[in-house]
Symmetry: C2
Subunit: 228 residues, 2 copies
């Protein structure tokens, strides 16, 4: 069973010195810390975020961070929420085409997480921040106006959440390790008498991720709010 890099893109021992030795660094601030944390996470993955490394990028001492932030978990929480903001036009969200409004928000949500692949795996294990709560609120409002009963609203929201999260977490992780998928498929080929169906379908290789995502959302919406 091949080890897999879980989210860490492997730049090897790329130990960089002070990032911009030229200009004077602006003073530390929560905003700079979070923005730089997102950059670092994008570049090095979830295991690449180290307090010392983050401080390096900011041109400060490692311990300076702890004045602005109480611990590393808080850096994660803030970086995560910062990436989940939704700038959707209110017109769209209130348009009579509720289905389009839902799909737009969900696809944007997924796209935001795929731009920052560490975020998807993180989201389910952290407390829900304001930006993701705003998305759920928006979703609840649209579904409610679309006719979903009060009693079914939680279930509807969570169904869609489940699908979005599963699709995005999977996609984000497979994405980072094509060579692993290839290895997996080759291992499968060796064992094609054991796994004939998925080997034939090349399950681990051929996949229209975007299309599958969209179809699944449609199926769920069909079930949650039957078309008349």
């Amino acid at each position: 069973m091949a080890a897999r890099r879980d989210g860490t893109q492997d730049k090897r021992p790329q130990r960089q010195a002070a990032p911009i030795p030229s200009a004077q660094e602006p003073p530390l601030s929560l905003e700079r810390i979070i923005a730089t944390a997102v950059e670092l996470l994008d570049a090095e993955g979830i295991d690449g975020l180290k307090m010392r490394r983050l401080a390096d990028r900011l041109g400060s001492g490692a311990m300076s961070l702890y004045w602005h932030v109480s611990n590393k978990d808080e850096v994660f929480d803030l970086a995560l929420d910062s990436v989940l903001e939704y700038r959707g036009s209110p017109q769209l969200s209130e348009s009579p085409d509720w289905r389009q409004a839902v799909v737009h928000m969900l696809e944007d949500w997924r796209a935001s997480m795929l731009r920052h692949p560490w975020s998807a795996s993180l989201l389910p294990r952290r407390a829900l921040g304001p930006n993701i709560l705003a998305r759920l609120e928006l979703l609840g409002g649209i579904l409610s106006r679309a006719g979903v009963d009060e009693a079914d609203l939680n279930g509807a929201i969570w169904s869609l959440w489940n699908y979005v999260m599963g699709a995005t977490i999977t996609r984000a992780n497979f994405d980072l390790s094509d060579e692993d998928m290839l290895a997996g498929q080759q291992r499968l080929a060796h064992l094609s008498q054991e796994y004939p169906t998925i080997e034939r379908a090349r399950l681990l290789l051929d996949n229209d991720w975007d299309g599958v995502f969209r179809k699944g959302v449609d199926f769920l919406l069909d079930g949650l709010v039957p078309r008349q």
Copy 2:
């Protein structure tokens, strides 16, 4: 934004000595190592698995593990796959009621992961082991016999995968931190003018996880294999 225990149940500095000072330990073996790793993961969560701690439980020196296993990632891979075995009756899988067969496998899969809450978060980021591949093979076979086109088979499998994984990862993590959910809901209550819909629906508190899971699977299956 409250920090959350991401999978680590907090037994504080509970530094235990040799586990059973009485009897002689059986010799180290890969099976014992994996079984004990699963126990440790169940008890302490994903961050609780330390090579030294695992060796403690096994009554061996920390470095002895490295003769049986090449590194910690391999322990994760093996523990993960060991938990995903499916013992489903072949009669069921080949029964004409394909829908029941699918639902049974998926519910069993989810239940297995919920019995070991660390496993769900781990599965999408590791290479796929033989037991999970066997489940996907079974799923592919059933759907194929149920009439799903060859061209749609990958999409069907991944849709269901997405839903199962999203539902289980979410459930497993929320499960571990009821107090966080309560805190979240109370924070929501404070901001109920900002999130009126989900606050009213008590999104973070009232939820029939099992029912939502089952309904979502049904909706997806309805879409993937329309009932005639």
